[in-house]
């Protein structure tokens, strides 16, 4: 941690090599979180790079009150939410009805992707459906679920990272799981996998 504090301080002074070292340390974690939040590789790369650019710009404001990793996580979640808002706005203006239909029912998207049963099996229907279910969550719900279950952050740390109360984290976490349960029920019913759990 001390070594990291020193790296952060050097990066704050504008030393690019120190910032590069920080990027090397965190690029996989931030990419992985970005992948969870965006649902695809291309957007995840864009988001993770945007996070590091924002971090570079705002380093002067980082006072070390939170962990550097928590700070990066917060930037990732906030950037993801604002990008999603921009995309929603663009989608609203362009109004692609097909896109709307797909987002309203992930199960149908799964079926469309897997009309050929063999191909569907190869593509890993379950993975597709899990991804689709995750993308159905509201941005904050998704962030909390992902940070808790894919990145193993305790609820309290999530509250600090997202700068919201522990009570809110708990209630959003519960809502996320209930919604996932509902989304996954379609999958279990459609593919007869009720007993596979």
């Amino acid at each position: 941690v001390n070594e990291e504090t020193e790296l952060v301080e050097r990066a704050r002074q504008g030393e690019k090599d120190a910032f590069r070292e920080l990027v090397e340390r965190y690029k996989k974690r931030i990419y992985s979180l970005s992948r969870d939040l965006t649902g695809n590789h291309h957007d995840a790369e864009d988001l993770s790079q945007e996070v590091f650019i924002k971090a570079y710009r705002s380093l002067k404001d980082f006072r070390g009150e939170a962990q550097f990793s928590s700070w990066l996580y917060r930037i990732t979640v906030n950037t993801s939410i604002s990008q999603r808002r921009k995309k929603s706005y663009t989608a609203l203006i362009l109004h692609d009805p097909e896109e709307n239909d797909r987002s309203e029912n992930p199960g149908q998207a799964v079926l469309a992707a897997g009309q050929d049963p063999e191909r569907s099996a190869e593509a890993g229907l379950m993975q597709i459906h899990i991804d689709a279910a995750l993308q159905q969550l509201a941005p904050r719900e998704k962030s909390i679920f992902v940070l808790r279950h894919y990145h193993d952050l305790p609820l309290k740390e999530i509250a600090e990272t997202l700068n919201i109360s522990l009570g809110s984290v708990k209630s959003l976490h519960f809502r996320a799981i209930k919604r996932l349960q509902k989304e996954l029920s379609f999958y279990r019913e459609e593919f007869g996998l009720e007993d596979s759990q």
Binding site: I53, R57, I177
Partner: protein, 279 residues
């Protein structure tokens, strides 16, 4: 709270395994004794376990090896990031050598400005202002103050209107409260409450009493927004929405702005008085 409700309120802690020993004991005692809670809990566990079966395709080494190179091209310059900047002297003597030409040019520039100021003082400060010019100056000043106050009042009403429209159109049942960004709304409301203090002090003339009262009514609603408790304070949002609805404050703002801009039909002095009575 019944035991079942208490148990369900602990599901999040249970699924995250963030219990105290005592809580854990109580929770599982209840789960073992209550089939309904047990069934609901098991269903939630299944959902989480299914989600945890997710695997991601890792990008290859080539992606990671070139990650920094791609990022570095997009990083802003040092000047754009607010990193500690060099002083003007450091910049002047940058790259380890003093640049006398720049210093001479700077000195000549300062000298020319000083000469200009002296000439201006010599030619234009000779005559004392007459009473007439003083009166005209005072009138101009008062008029300018009026315009500034009018602009500030309009801006205040505009910002309040946009803030309230955002809240009124927010559907607490179907939309995510985080999309509303309550901390930001609170900050704007606090700014507006401060601005209201200033405006109330300045709007003292009889013709300004109508807008002053409007600002006082608005202040009550803005204070409620400024005191929202957290991101999920949906009940408070509903209270504000019904307050806006009951007071018809948005309509009053629109009418007041139209009235002061002379857009209402027949906005003569007499008509303005009539409009004031209606509002």
């Amino acid at each position: 709270m019944s035991d079942c409700r208490k148990c369900r309120a602990m599901f999040t802690e249970a699924l995250s395994d963030e219990f105290s020993q005592e809580q854990r004991q109580w929770f599982f005692d209840h789960i073992n004794a209550c089939p309904d809670c047990d069934a609901e809990y098991q269903a939630l566990i299944r959902a989480v376990q299914t989600m945890k079966q997710r695997t991601l395709d890792e990008p290859g080494d080539a992606f990671w090896d070139t990650y920094w190179d791609r990022l570095e091209k997009k990083l802003p310059d040092r000047q754009q990031t607010g990193f500690p900047q060099r002083t003007w002297w450091q910049q002047l003597s940058g790259r380890g050598r003093f640049q006398p030409q720049l210093a001479y040019r700077f000195a000549v520039g300062v000298a020319l400005i000083a000469v200009g100021v002296l000439i201006g003082k010599f030619y234009f400060s000779g005559s004392e202002p007459t009473p007439h010019t003083l009166v005209m100056q005072a009138k101009r000043d008062t008029s300018a103050q009026h315009v500034a106050l009018e602009t500030r009042t309009n801006r205040y009403l505009d910002r309040s209107k946009i803030l309230l429209l955002g809240l009124v159109n927010f559907d607490t049942k179907n939309e995510d409260a985080y999309a509303l960004d309550i901390p930001y709304q609170k900050q704007i409301s606090q700014d507006l409450v401060q601005e209201a203090d200033y405006l109330k002090d300045q709007l003292t003339e009889p013709s300004q009493q109508q807008v002053r009262e409007l600002i006082i009514s608005l202040e009550m609603i803005l204070l409620q927004i400024a005191n929202f408790e957290n991101q999920n304070d949906l009940a408070a949002i509903e209270v504000v929405k019904s307050g806006v609805d009951e007071t018809g404050i948005l309509l009053k703002i629109n009418l007041d702005m139209m009235n002061r801009q002379g857009q209402l039909p027949g906005t003569t002095t007499e008509q303005k008085k009539i409009n004031q009575i209606h509002i």
